[in-house]
């Protein structure tokens, strides 16, 4: 299975903040629409997975993570069952463990709600 890595720090911004585009230049909505959704579409085509890497960012707000991962499920662009297998969240630096737990919890909550 081909894995596509998407690093928020390297592929988007080291300073992500806000939910919608009106909240700032590097908002969750922009990341989701311009980076995450295209990567997932590509993964769907090639039958792979997308690994979102949280490392390297100066810090996250919980609202950014909720809008990114919870918002992705709510957008209903991809089947919930497929997202459960195809979207992974990774944090190799232990400082980002709590952000990873938070992001996974938002994703799982929305996936369970959608199922």
């Amino acid at each position: 299975m081909t894995d596509l890595k998407l690093s928020i720090a390297n592929d988007f911004s080291r300073y992500p903040a806000g939910r919608t585009r009106r909240d700032g230049e590097f908002s969750a909505q922009r990341f989701r629409e311009e980076k995450l959704v295209p990567a997932l579409k590509k993964a769907q085509t090639i039958g792979g997975r997308v690994i979102v890497v949280l490392d390297g960012v100066y810090g996250y707000s919980s609202s950014f993570l909720e809008e990114t991962f919870g918002g992705l499920v709510r957008s209903k662009l991809f089947p919930a069952a497929w997202l459960r297998k195809a979207l992974l969240i990774e944090a190799s630096d232990p400082i980002y463990t709590s952000y990873k737990l938070d992001a996974e919890s938002y994703l799982q909550d929305e996936l369970n709600y959608a199922a």
């Binding site: 939910r19 810090g59 400082i95």
Partner: protein, 158 residues
Amino acid sequence: MFPDWVWTFLAFLFAPVLAAILSGYAVNRWKVREDYIEKRFDELCSTILDTADLASDYWSGSAADEGMRLCESKIVASLKRIGGLRVILSQYISRSAHNELAQAESALLRETTGGNFGVHNRQPDPQKILSCQAVASDCVITIRRARMSDLRGFRRRG
């Protein structure tokens, strides 16, 4: 130069004195290490409570109020500092204690920076003012409890 009995006496004393010096050194090393860990725990708890205060200030105002962007940055930076302290402590605490700390930190992250955090038209949220303080207190209790369990020796470090 000295009578024989002096040499015999000194030889008799050598082993206990050496043992006393070595054990004193070891106890001192252990004490310094434990003090260092305790200070980091205190620093972690103090940072958590400071973050909760910052977050309560933030949620008591609206997005249009002066200094809110700065307050936002301070909260996010403070949360990262909490993560950093947890990582520093992770080498001195048990794995289960570390997992509990990470869970508590995640709950704090969600409460302080969830909801409308960073949203351009955010309004004051009295509920968040209370919940940030409550979650921070829970977080401190979790940390102290995990530390006490480790000290009682129920868990293996590392």
